[in-house]
């Protein structure tokens, strides 16, 4: 149950702080996102720049990059995902504990980018794992990554703890691991996870 904003301010003037458990919970979660320390290609350089003093991702509470998927709750797919690397990326995602979020950073991670017609590049990591925020760009500016983080924070803020639309980590029946593709004789098998990635429509 959300608290009425006007009433909240009015009560605040009287020295009474009112909130809901959901607001407090999401406030805590959104301001301490722990990204995974993991870079794939040139976008990783921009990701590193974002964490450093000039752009300073720490302002948004996501400065501690963890070198283990067990300690992280956000994965930044920063760069080209080759078909050789794709199973490892999915496996790392599976190893992360819930709640977990994915930012696909740059043209390659969202669609294959300039390598879209190549034989060895995955045409977007969203073929295998659910992606929360896509950032276009080649590579995106650090500001774009910060924008993605803020977008993700807004998404976390809007999550309801109960009800049908509650997030995956609060739903015991929801799937939290996704099948790891096999490296076949000619291509990855399967070439996409149909539950996660619907076949795209072309707007003509």
């Amino acid at each position: 149950m959300a608290v009425d904003e006007g009433l909240k301010i009015e009560l605040g003037k009287q020295g009474i702080f009112v909130t809901s458990l959901q607001d407090l919970y999401n406030w805590g979660r959104r301001n301490s996102v722990w990204p995974m320390q993991f870079g794939l290609a040139c976008c990783a350089i921009e990701m590193i720049a974002t964490t450093m003093a000039r752009y300073d991702m720490a302002r948004f509470g996501a400065e501690v990059f963890r070198p283990s998927p067990r300690q992280a709750d956000m994965m930044i797919i920063s760069g080209t995902v080759t078909k050789k690397m794709a199973p490892q990326v999915v496996r790392l995602y599976n190893q992360m504990a819930e709640p977990k979020y994915v930012i696909a950073m740059g043209a390659c991670a969202i669609s294959g980018g300039p390598f879209k017609q190549g034989y060895n590049v995955l045409k977007g990591i969203d073929r295998y794992i659910p992606v929360d925020v896509h950032i276009p760009g080649c590579p995106p500016r650090p500001e774009a990554l910060l924008q993605a983080l803020i977008t993700l924070q807004k998404k976390i803020d809007g999550q309801h703890l109960t009800g049908e639309d509650r997030p995956r980590f609060l739903n015991a029946e929801a799937q939290s691991e996704f099948p790891v593709p096999e490296q076949g004789e000619h291509d990855l098998e399967p070439t996409s996870n149909k539950d996660v990635w619907p076949v795209p429509l072309v707007i003509r």
Binding site: G112, N120, Q183, G184, E185, H186, D187, S192, V199
Partner: protein, 227 residues
């Protein structure tokens, strides 16, 4: 730097039984190369590295070339028995008749090495080797024992072209995974059809886009799908 003909002469004088052909490059760079016979290639390479005149101690680049089977159509004049009426009498006359013939020139795989000399500050010398065919006889001698820098690059050529380097210490795929069966840089490689074509496809791309739509359902328009 000596010309390729001088290098060829020097090789043939120094290495017994060495067979070297000069492949000329008609382009403006005029960078001619030496085609080595596989049986004596290792001895020739060792000579080029160790000889103080050449001292080609640095292998800069190894790459592959795929020469697919080539169908050649040519017109040949062949003698043929022709029945003809000459001066009112029917006679069988031998005549030269033009005929169109097709023949297939077998292809091969080729490895190209660019050599430089750090000691003499000269180069490059381009040497090539060709396999017997493109399918079952694809072995070439490895130059890794002679130039260590060939190791990873020969693995790459093995991975992408399928040339097997005999004598290579660790011949594994390097870019693709171990279970992969194809050689992507070959001309007849069929790439996986797994990306959406542009919305304004035409000509050859349109044909491919339609085939993909029929096979996988990718590229179906919103009207068609009802979504």
């Amino acid at each position: 730097m000596k010309t390729v003909d001088e290098i060829k002469a020097a090789i043939e004088a120094a290495v017994r039984g060495a067979r070297v052909d000069v492949l000329t490059n008609p382009g403006p760079s005029g960078q001619h190369s030496l085609l080595l016979a596989t049986s004596t290639a290792a001895a020739v390479a060792r000579f080029l590295r160790d000889d103080p005149e050449f001292a080609l101690d640095f292998l800069s680049n190894v790459t592959g070339v795929d020469w697919p089977d080539k169908e050649i159509t040519e017109k040949v004049k062949v003698p043929k028995q022709v029945v003809k009426t000459v001066e009112g009498v029917e006679q069988t006359v031998e005549e030269m008749v033009e005929e169109t013939r097709k023949r297939v020139e077998p292809g091969c795989l080729e490895a190209v090495y660019h050599l430089y000399s750090m000691a003499k500050k000269q180069g490059p010398v381009v040497i090539r080797m060709r396999t017997a065919n493109r399918s079952d006889n694809v072995t070439l001698p490895s130059f890794t024992p002679i130039w260590r820098s060939a190791e990873l690059q020969e693995r790459e050529v093995f991975d992408l072209y399928g040339i097997v380097f005999g004598g290579h210490p660790d011949l594994r795929r390097i870019l693709m995974w171990d279970g992969f069966k194809d050689h992507p840089m070959r001309k007849d490689y069929i790439e996986p059809d797994d990306f959406e074509y542009e919305p304004t496809a035409h000509d050859e791309v349109l044909a491919r886009a339609q085939a993909q739509k029929a096979a996988t359902g990718m590229g179906i328009t919103p009207q068609e799908s009802g979504r």
